[in-house]
Amino acid sequence: MTDESALLREPWIDFGRQLEAGKFGIWVFLASETLFFGALLLTYTVCRIEHPDAFAAAGRETNVWYGTINTAVLLTSSLTMAVAAQAAKESARLRRVVLAGLMITAMLGLAFIVIKGFEYKEDLDKHLVPGAGFALPQPGAQLFYGFYWLVTGVHAIHLSIGIALVSRLIWVLYRRELPAKDNPEIEVTALYWHLVDIVWIFLYPLIYLPGRAS
């Protein structure tokens, strides 16, 4: 009971209702995000339809190992995030599991960004930035890398926001400012985190896998 009263916010009088509204609200926001990234994927698809060979050639230039490792890192972070969120709902005794799960999640998110940084470095060295001095001859390849830089950048911003949200949660929970049990912020943050993961799941075959077979 005390947990609930600590978590109750204006204008709610019923905590269950507040919890449900938060969850519903974030899902509506995720639907919006679906179209946000969906529009980028549409851009990619239309360009790829118009320049299939250039996209294959450009896809071959990406570093598939960075991509695959990073996908694995994010999938694992989703695992720890899911465990943390489920533990928070399960029982107040699992507070340490929640904290541990969140910490590993944030670490994995950071690891992703560090790996991405190394990959960016390599891309810069290989002159894969659209514009003068671009490494590949096909004009369509510049489209591919235009998309690559933009979408990985936007994704990295989303992930950074995720890391910030998780870090804040860790801080608040660690200092016991708010209870972990049934804390709506944990669930909302987790849902957001998973969406960022899903976006990457789709980016992986679009960025790293074209043109590998030929």
Partner: protein, 313 residues
């Protein structure tokens, strides 16, 4: 020029468009009169405190009415769609023997070129009663070729070819306008269309300063740009021969087939690696940036003329 209230119907297409327009106008007019009339009628008759009968509402007045007018509007709109679209579809493709004229748009002028090479700026002379097919491209931003008297409009898009056709049915001079906002002097990007009798047009054409016709210009470019080095019959390089190519179906290296259209030729010049012909190596360099749109049109016209030679043989 135009009168204040009516616009000349100067193409065969204009009459059809105006028919649809007038029907829609009549229909909208009726609806406006109906809705405004009812609102006014109710407003006066049922103003507060008037003696008009109120009492119980008639039973019929709800669901039946709703369903009735929903269906009525739906059917009307489907009919309108069918009618307008069939008019559009029937005028979609240019007739096969239309006179081909090239149009290049740039900020802020229209450049036109006739088959014999005669060039005009911000003007276009066309013969009466003969289909005219415009092949258009843009050198910078999107423009839109708009001749109100013909009821035609088509955006001219950089990086691809668009086309439009009309058959002028009235002699005279008609305004040509750019309808897609294209920057500072968008509103100055105007010209005129001069419709002449066919014999006048032929005479006018011969009086123009001798420009090479497009195909001849293209033939010169074919040599000067080095195309002939590989594609000429005498060349040692293994490259596709272009005689008789135009309009044929081409088998590509990756198994697809394409039709050798203007767009295909343009793509092959600018992005040769995109559609590689079966049996050839992708060795051709891109001519992007080396040729402007006018030159590509000339080259295309030359390749097209090779088809005709083939047929004449």
């Amino acid at each position: 020029m135009n009168s204040l209230v009516s616009l000349p119907e100067a193409s065969t297409h204009a009459g059809a468009v105006d028919h649809i327009f007038y029907l829609l106008l009549a229909l909208s007019g009726t609806t406006v009169i109906l809705v405004f009339g009812l609102i006014l009628l109710f407003a006066v008759r049922y103003r507060r405190g008037s003696k008009a009968k109120r009492g119980p509402m008639p039973e019929i007045l709800s669901r039946e009415f709703e369903i009735g007018w929903t269906l009525a509007t739906l059917l009307t709109f489907i009919f309108l769609f069918w009618w307008a679209s069939s008019a559009d579809l029937s005028s979609l493709a240019a007739p096969p023997h239309a006179l081909e004229i090239h149009v290049v748009a740039k900020q802020w002028m229209w450049k036109t070129q006739h088959t014999n090479g005669a060039r005009e700026i911000n003007a276009l002379h066309v013969p009466l009663n003969r289909p005219v097919h415009l092949l258009m491209s843009s050198q910078d931003v999107i423009h839109s070729f708009f001749v109100p008297a013909f009821r035609v409009k088509q955006d001219v898009v950089p990086g691809r070819d668009t086309d439009i056709w009309f058959q002028a049915s009235k002699r005279g001079t008609f305004p040509l306008l750019c309808a897609e906002y294209c920057g500072t002097n968008h509103s100055m990007m105007r010209g005129k269309i001069v419709v002449m009798r066919q014999d006048d047009y032929a005479r006018w054409l011969t009086q123009q300063p001798e420009g090479d016709d497009l195909a001849h210009e293209g033939a010169k470019l074919f040599v000067s740009q080095g195309c002939a080095g590989c594609h000429a019959a005498s060349s040692n390089v293994h490259a596709p021969r272009l005689a008789g190519l135009y309009g044929r179906t081409v088998q590509l290296a990756d198994g697809r087939t394409v039709s050798a259209s203007d767009a295909y030729i343009r793509d092959s010049i600018l992005q040769p690696k995109r559609d590689v012909v079966a049996g050839f190596e992708p060795i051709m360099p891109s001519f992007k940036g080396l040729l402007d749109d006018g030159e590509i049109q000339s080259l295309t016209a030359y390749i097209r003329s090779l088809r005709e030679e083939q047929q004449n043989d």
